[in-house]
């Protein structure tokens, strides 16, 4: 390795590490998680093996025979040589011998029954309630409610109570509390009618906002282009602010403008219009304001880019058009606009991708409401995996939502790679030639 390669790698490595950690790994993990049922209840690290009382009812559906279910339910406390030995070491051989004589080989269904037997020992009954409980626990053979950290421990336990071989695999699978690999996320997405609505919402949102962004960005760029510098600068500053104001504050201003005691309601009241929440009253209201809120941010980006490419057009072309008698509209339409093709294409392609995946402003403005009528795909992913009122966050299903966006993102950004003038960009460094 020559010195320059070494320097190149060492200069690149910190950035490379960050990219691997927070881009490549998450992309791969999104794919992996999309094929799991990971959620708050399964946890994200591994799980344990446990059958609880309430699990018994769903076991037959999971392929466990009724015989085994009864075995799990019936098994309680048994006086057996191995449980007796355990008991003897803590509570003395005498008690153990007497218990063996009285109840050897007996099975008790619940704890109270075995505790009564322990209390009724003639020679030396266990009087303390606490001791009795501890002693009863030693005879316990039921695995209900018991946690087993490994599959082997669970297999031993079900073998002990005599679950037939045929049922063990199904039972083990049903007892696992951690996440498992599955394709049910995609089946669910395919079946749910809401999926299609979120997809449609995303399309509506992207198309409307994009149309607003591009047309209004163009309008701002052209109109400020023809104004005296000071006036143009004032308007540009007004339209630039939405871009740099923190989103939380920017959306708060819109909330104030539209809430039922806000600006719009107040100035319309003298005209006999009932105060309503203009942003959340109906889906149409919500969409209008979502497009406006996003549009004002997007239009300012359009304005900046379009303005700078307008300034790059030689003014002589405009003078020539003026001499030929073109009015201002004709100048814009036939001289300026045709030269803006690339910036317009760039803004359109870039914002399609970023609008499709961003949900920040919608989250702050309507949170998908009213109902779920402004819930776009990206917001649905967020709600499913990271914030819902039910409390059980479904990481797996959310990742399946996100996976669709990740795939679109990779495809479109690979496509944009061709738009850029790639060959010029990678021109070889000149020093060594």
């Amino acid at each position: 390795m020559n010195r320059q390669t070494l320097l190149g790698w060492s200069f690149l490595s910190p950035a490379l590490m960050a990219v691997v950690m927070f881009f490549l790994l998450p992309v791969i993990l999104t794919v992996v998680f999309a094929f799991t049922n990971m959620s708050t209840s399964t946890g994200i690290l591994g799980g344990e093996y446990q059958i609880s009382e309430s699990d018994l009812r769903r076991l037959p559906a999971a392929g466990v025979s009724n015989e085994s279910v009864e075995m799990l339910a019936g098994a309680g406390y048994a006086v057996r040589p191995e449980t007796l030995a355990l008991f003897a070491s803590d509570f003395g051989d005498e008690r153990a011998d007497e218990l063996d004589a009285l109840h050897g080989g007996a099975v008790f269904d619940d704890r109270r029954a075995i505790e009564r037997a322990l209390k009724d020992l003639r020679r030396d009954p266990i009087r303390s309630v606490r001791d009795r409980k501890a002693a009863a626990e030693m005879f316990r053979i039921s695995i209900l409610g018991q946690r087993y950290p490994t599959e082997a421990a669970f297999a031993d336990a079900i073998a002990d109570i005599g679950v037939p071989d045929a049922d063990r695999a199904a039972l083990t699978e049903a007892a696992y509390t951690g996440w498992t690999f599955t394709t049910q996320n995609f089946e669910l997405l395919w079946e749910l009618p809401a999926t299609w609505r979120y997809a449609m919402n995303s399309v509506v949102y992207v198309v409307l906002t994009l149309a607003f962004n591009v047309s209004f960005g163009l309008f701002l760029a052209f109109s400020t282009f023809y104004l005296p510098t000071r006036t143009a600068q004032t308007f540009r500053a007004i339209w630039f602010l939405p871009r740099i104001l923190p989103p939380v504050l920017y959306v708060l201003m819109w909330q104030w403008l539209t809430w039922d005691q806000g600006f719009i309601s107040t100035i319309l009241r003298p005209f006999g219009i009932e105060p309503i929440n203009w942003m959340r009253h109906t889906a149409t209201h919500a969409w209008t304001f979502i497009v406006l809120i996003n549009g004002c941010v997007g239009a300012s980006l359009g304005m900046i880019l379009f303005s700078s490419s307008l300034r790059a057009i030689p003014e002589t072309q405009l003078y020539a058009a003026q001499v030929d008698g073109a009015n201002r509209w004709q100048q814009v339409r036939f001289v300026l606009l045709p030269q803006m093709r690339w910036p317009i294409l760039f803004i359109t392609s870039y914002q399609t991708l970023s609008l499709l995946t961003s949900f920040e402003y919608i989250l702050l403005a309507t949170d998908g409401g009213p109902g779920r009528q402004t819930e776009v795909w990206a917001l649905a992913a967020y709600h499913t995996a990271l914030s819902n009122y039910g409390g059980n966050l479904e990481y797996g299903l959310g990742a399946a939502y996100a996976l669709a966006l990740v795939i679109i993102g990779i495809l479109l950004s690979a496509l944009y790679l061709r738009f850029f003038n790639f060959r010029e960009l990678v021109a070889k460094p000149r020093i060594e030639q």
Partner: protein, 276 residues
């Protein structure tokens, strides 16, 4: 070309009308933070500073102090900005000027990452942070934010390196300096304006960031102004817009100050960068 005000009154009128909602919102954002409107109205009735009470007393007992939150925000924004700059100046130089294997591949990767919508990865990043034990800590959000801003930073810095004439470097190398020394002593001073623009931009990006702290550090200890303000707004059953706007004003003051100071530079970088 006619650029007088008189000759363009229709355009100015149209622009004024379209800008009116924004101007009204900015205006009342200022007014409402230091006044109380008449009940059921919007005209300010009394000038007062009670909306700013959050600065000297907690709004309610469960909330961390505003100064703690402001400190967190400052640490978050400035550390992010420094990390982005530190990683960008080296990586961008390597991509712009050094000839090493796989350079083309990294450049293609950079362009793709630059366009790739990182927010889609948030679910996986959330789980990665839990694995790493960095969930709900300021450190975790800082690392994630810096990493996500990095493609943009490298992209911008590469642009600045590309515009430095090769002759400077050639001269340095011919005089016997190592490539590292050439970079440190000759090239880096040339890209200082770009570096400061990137520093300001990343600081603002960190200062305004909302989704990442919301998802990755929801606890009270790592709260930043964006999540603090959002929580105050979300908790209130009867909205107190005077208070909200005062908090918002406090939150936005550094942003507005930076904007007024570095307007030109920011316009350039926002034009070159393509976030949102």
């Amino acid at each position: 070309m006619n650029t007088s005000i008189k000759g363009n009154w229709i355009l100015i009128l149209a622009l004024t009308l379209f800008s009116a909602p924004l101007v009204i919102m900015y205006g009342f954002q200022l007014i409402d933070s230091v006044s109380r409107p008449a009940p059921g109205g919007i005209i300010p009735q009394e000038w007062e500073l009670t909306n700013w009470r959050f600065l000297w007393e907690p709004i309610d007992s469960a909330r961390p102090s505003i100064w703690r939150v402001t400190f967190n925000t400052f640490v978050f924004a400035s550390t992010t900005a420094l990390l982005v700059c530190a990683f960008s100046i080296t990586a961008a130089y390597a991509l712009s000027r050094l000839n090493f294997p796989a350079r083309r591949f990294f450049l293609a990767g950079l362009i793709m990452l630059h366009a790739f919508p990182t927010i889609t990865l948030i679910i996986a990043i959330f789980i990665v942070l839990q694995f790493l034990g960095l969930y709900d800590s300021l450190m975790g959000v800082i690392l994630v934010k810096a990493a996500l801003e990095l493609p943009f930073g490298i992209w911008i810095m590469k642009g600045f390196y590309d515009s430095v004439p090769w002759e400077i470097e050639m001269a340095g190398v011919q005089d016997g300096a190592s490539r590292f020394r050439v970079w440190w002593e000759l090239i880096l001073p040339q890209v200082k304006p770009g570096l400061s623009a990137l520093l300001i931009f990343s600081f603002l990006a960190g200062w305004s960031e909302f989704i990442l702290p919301l998802v990755l550090a929801p606890g009270a200890d790592a709260q930043v102004l964006a999540t603090y303000m959002n929580a105050v707004i979300a908790d209130d059953t009867r909205p107190d817009y005077g208070l909200f706007k005062a908090i918002g004003m406090f939150y936005a003051l550094p942003v507005i100050a930076i904007y007024l100071l570095f307007q030109k530079r920011l316009m350039n970088i926002y034009g070159g960068g393509t976030k949102g």
